[in-house]
Symmetry: C2
Subunit: 249 residues, 2 copies
C-alpha cells in the first residue's frame, strides 16, 4: 500500500471516530549536548517534517486526546503537557493534501491547539507510527535545513517564546536535565532557552536563592578542569516553586 | 417570539455559517472602585449568566472571529485579546440546552477557546445583543451571588490565574487605569490581581525601577490627606517592556 492509499484508508476511519475541524499539535522540547531539540515526524506522504499531532475523539476529553496522540505517534507516555497557543488561520493546513479531493478528512479546515512539553530525550526510545518515515529529535538550529509542512515552524517558534516567558516565573530543568548536573549545565539550559548569554556570578546567585537546588557530596570527574560540584533538584521546593511561581511582586 | 423560538431560529442560521464544535469565550477584565470586574451577559433563555462568547465562521480566521464576537455581543470594538486556555471536557456545555433535541446547533459538543483582555469600563457604554437580558460588569467578589452557566466560572478562574502569572513578566495597567493615576491606585490594581497586600515601599521602588511611569506636574485634589502625586504611563517604555518582558534572568 502506498502512502496515498494509507491516507485514504485513514480518512474513512477518521470521519467515524474524530471531531471535525479540531487538531492538537504537541511541541516536545528536549535538551542534549547543550542544545534544545524538538520532536518531529517525517511523513511517508510527501516526505515532510511535522509535529506529532492528531485529532480528538468524539467521546474523549481534550486533555486525554493529547496524551493519547503523543503515545500513538511517538511512543512517549509520561510527558506533562500544557496548552500554549491556538492556530486558527483559514487555509493553514489544507494545501498539504493537494493530491486529494475535498472529501478527505485531513483536508478540511483545522484549528490546531498547541501543547508544550519538556522531556529528556534519554528517557525514551522513540517509536514511529506507520504513516511516518522517521521520528526524531531535531536541534533547533537544524530546523532551517529540513522541510517543515504547514505552519508548524510558526507553532514551534510560538512554543519557544512561551518557554522563554515561563522561565521568568517557573523553575525549569527537572524534566530536561539528568538527575545530577553541574551549575554550568543548568546555566547553559537557561541561556539556550533565553537565547542570550548570562553572567555566571549573577546566575549562580539567583538560581541558588530560589532554594530549589541540593548540592551533592559528589563532583563531576573526567574533565580537563577542576572537577565541578554536582547538584540535583530539591523536589519538594521545586514543586512548591512551580505551584506558587517565582512572582517578584 | 419567546427565547426558545429565538434559539431555534438561530440554530438553523448557525449551521450554515459557523464551524461546528468550536467556540470562543472572551474574559474581559475591568478595574473600577479599586475592584476587578468581568464582563458578563445574562441570557433571555434560562436567565443565566455567561461570558460573551460565540462561534467561528467557516471562512474566517480565528483571531478575526474573536474581535467580531465581542463587537456583536457587547458593543466593544477596541480590546486587545490574548488566548489563555482551551476548555475541552466532553459534556461541558451540552446540558445547558436540555429543553432542545440533539439537532440544535448550540447543543453539540463545543471545545471553547478562552481569550483574556483588559478594558477600562468607562471607555464604553455596553450594548447587549437581542438574545441577552443584560450585559454588565460584575465585580469578581459578586460572582458567587449570580447563576453562572456551563463551566464559565472555571474559565474566569483560569483567566485570573493567567493574569496573576502575567503580572510578573509584563507591565499591567495601561488598559485598566485612567490616563492619570496615583501610585496607590496602581498598587491597589496589583494587589487585586495578585490577591494579596503588598508592602508600599517595596512596591513603589520596584514599579519605579521598571521605568514605565512618568511623574506629572499635578496632584490629586480633594482627598482628606495630603494631595498625592499623579502619574501616567510612559507609552514608549511601557510598550518596550511589554515586548521584552520583565525577565529577571
Amino acid at each position: 500500500m502506498d502512502s496515498k492509499q494509507q491516507i485514504l484508508l485513514r480518512s474513512n476511519e477518521a470521519k467515524e471516530i474524530y471531531l471535525p475541524h479540531i487538531s492538537a499539535d504537541p511541541v516536545i522540547f528536549g535538551f542534549e549536548n547543550n542544545g534544545l531539540k524538538v520532536l518531529m515526524l517525517q511523513t511517508n506522504y510527501r516526505q515532510k517534517w511535522l509535529l506529532p499531532g492528531g485529532y480528538v475523539r468524539k467521546d474523549e476529553d481534550l486533555d486525554d486526546a493529547v496524551v493519547r496522540i503523543l503515545k500513538d505517534r511517538a511512543g512517549i507516555s509520561d510527558a506533562y503537557m500544557e496548552e500554549f497557543g491556538v492556530f486558527g488561520k483559514k487555509d493553514r493546513s489544507e494545501f498539504f493534501f493537494e493530491d486529494f479531493d475535498e472529501t478527505l478528512f485531513h483536508k478540511q479546515r483545522f484549528i490546531s491547539i498547541g501543547y508544550l512539553a519538556l522531556y529528556n530525550p534519554s528517557n525514551t526510545i522513540l517509536v514511529k507510527d506507520d504513516i511516518s518515515n522517521a521520528c526524531d529529535w531535531i536541534f533547533l538550529d537544524e530546523l532551517d535545513n529540513i522541510d517543515i509542512a504547514m505552519d508548524h515552524r510558526e507553532i514551534i517558534e510560538k512554543a519557544l517564546l512561551t518557554l522563554r516567558e515561563k522561565i521568568s516565573i517557573k523553575p525549569i530543568g527537572y524534566n530536561l536535565l539528568p538527575e545530577k548536573f553541574t551549575l554550568s549545565e543548568l546555566q547553559k539550559l537557561y541561556e539556550t532557552i533565553l537565547g542570550k548569554e548570562l553572567n555566571r556570578g549573577n546566575f549562580y546567585r539567583k538560581i541558588k536563592n530560589l532554594g530549589i537546588l541540593k548540592k551533592l557530596d559528589e563532583r563531576r570527574r573526567g574533565g580537563a578542569h577542576k572537577a565541578p560540584d554536582l547538584y540535583s533538584f530539591d523536589e519538594q521546593n521545586y514543586n512548591k516553586a512551580l505551584e506558587n511561581g517565582l512572582n517578584n511582586w
